[in-house]
Homo-oligomer: 338 residues x 2
């Protein structure tokens, strides 16, 4: 089937661009030096492609992602880089330990006790290294590790996430601040012990030399937000839309804000002729209104580039893998929900 | 089951608040004077509640919503208030005519021809009344109606949507501009004919006296954007979250931007004690970081009010209907996707 035959809006992945991104990252951080973050795509087929280039350990943000990865046979080493205290969800996760190695993040007495109660075997201590989100104080990490070990949990090491440093204009300042953040994490690790020091993301993967692994997700498919970085990753994911209405100075296509994560602002429209860029006016539930760079007609297809890939993936049931304009596979976005 | 037992994030609907909203609107625009918009909830169980208070005609934004409503036995009079030219989708819609009355919106030669080709029986001419989106020029409406009738389509009248006038500070200016927009629609209707003049939304439902029906959706569940209007509708939908991490001056709960439409900005956290309001700092994929108005502990539940209800509903599989803190029903969000 040709892309032109897809009903729209349709999420497509360019297989050449995806392969390019996976190769570049696997060269920079081969095998276990990268723990790809599943939340950026929520697709076990894509995770299998990451495994095929050598990464067998994965990061997840939800219990659903963890269990889905285990069910997909990708459970060699799954990290839930998030705090969960819900006993129902933790029970499901513990049950997946029969077919996967499950590690959770812990940052408080309550999360330690909930994991122990559920029978979770492995954990990392989640350390706050500057982003105001989860993570314990660095000077509390050793105490939490002791508490977890006292309750029978194998503490494998520490994790942190310097999410506030992913996109910065000044690369020297970024490097310096990432070093400071890692210093906090390494300092905590000295008292926690274990083999794992996990941190980072697509915006900082090239700046880490003291951690044992980097958690990066967006690099595989990319979005217009991370494109500002000038890293060697290229856009591999688009939402294809159809022009449904044309007026004198604007046109409307069927890619709305229910098909496109909007927290990083409006998406952009991929240039199709002469590299001219169309300007996006606004999105409604099921429409994008835009000023086309070159004239369009009702029925024409456009390709829309998300400003934030993660929530965009979560809005679709399926991604179509495309090579040279032909659909070569159907990848369910099977890890949606919680 | 008590709300406290729900795994989170969980979408809940307060049944008393929903009933209040449905009653208020049914009193203002009884029966066929309102054509509730399904896109605001994507839930056929909620549409059934709207039918139970007297509205038997519905508005949809996608073919999936149309077919789902037909399958749910709510197909007395379904309007697709959107342009579709995809022949696969239109064929599915035409097939639903065996169990539902299907009307589509047409605004161009291409949409007329696609509907005729698919064997769609009924249509409205979609007229642009000021919002830069779909809709033909008012002076082109009669020509399109003739073209549609010439191809065997029953043209029932006209529709327009003054979406740019839904939320305005100056109520006199809003009234005046809505009157102007409706004047364009009524003018087009004089040349198109038919029984239907359809327009409006939750922001303008009280300003329409010349149309035969108003298309409103958000009034049923509401959001913080429409709450600014001061209309008599109250918040009926929340995403329940659990506090998973607490720091010195902020806390983190498990309601992130994959559980919450973000195009209208950050959500708000419903006050739970002394009407004090917590301030939201930011959302990540699976987290909201906020400064609690009163101290919270890991495990506490919070209720988050969406800034935009429509995309929020589309992110969840199910809504839990709640009365006095008890879950009394499970409503699938069955009309998601396209």
């Amino acid at each position: 089937m040709n892309v032109a035959q897809l009903s729209t809006p349709a999420l497509i992945i360019d297989s050449d661009a995806l392969d390019h991104n996976l190769r570049i990252m696997a060269a920079a951080r081969p095998g276990p030096l990268l723990r790809p973050h599943v939340k950026a795509h929520k697709c076990s087929s894509l995770a299998a492609a990451q495994a095929a280039v050598g990464h067998r350990s994965f990061t997840c943000a939800t219990v659903r992602e963890m269990i889905g990865m285990a069910d997909a046979g990708l459970g060699d080493d799954l990290l839930l880089a998030n705090e969960v205290i819900d006993s129902t969800r933790l029970a499901g996760l513990a049950a997946a330990q029969d077919r996967a190695m499950i590690t959770v993040a812990l940052d408080s007495d309550e999360t330690v006790d909930a994991a122990a109660q559920a029978g979770i075997h492995h954990a990392l201590i989640d350390v706050n290294i500057g982003l105001p989100r989860c993570g314990c104080r660095p000077d509390d990490a050793a105490r939490l590790a002791d508490r977890a070990r006292g309750r029978g949990i194998d503490v494998r090491g520490v994790m942190g996430y310097e999410g506030h440093l992913m996109v910065m204009d000044d690369s020297d300042e970024q490097r310096s601040r990432v070093d400071d953040a890692v210093e906090r994490l390494v300092g905590a690790h000295e008292h926690v012990g274990g083999d794992v020091i996990s941190a980072g993301g697509t915006g900082t993967y090239h700046l880490h030399h003291r951690v044992t692994e980097v958690q990066a997700g967006s690099y595989a498919l990319m979005d217009s937000y991370y494109a500002q970085l000038g890293h060697p990753f290229i856009q591999a994911c688009f939402v294809v839309g159809t022009v449904v209405s044309v007026s004198a100075n604007y046109a409307v296509a069927d890619v709305g804000l229910k098909a496109m994560g909007m927290d990083h602002g409006n998406p952009t429209i991929a240039p199709c002729v002469d590299d001219a860029a169309s300007s996006v006016w606004f999105l409604s539930d099921e429409h994008v209104t835009f000023a086309p760079a070159t004239p369009v007609r009702v029925g024409d297809q456009i390709r829309v580039i998300p400003a934030h890939i993660d929530p965009t993936m979560a809005m679709h049931d399926v991604a179509w893998l495309v090579h040279d304009g032909e659909v070569i596979d159907r990848w369910p976005i099977d890890l949606r929900g919680w």
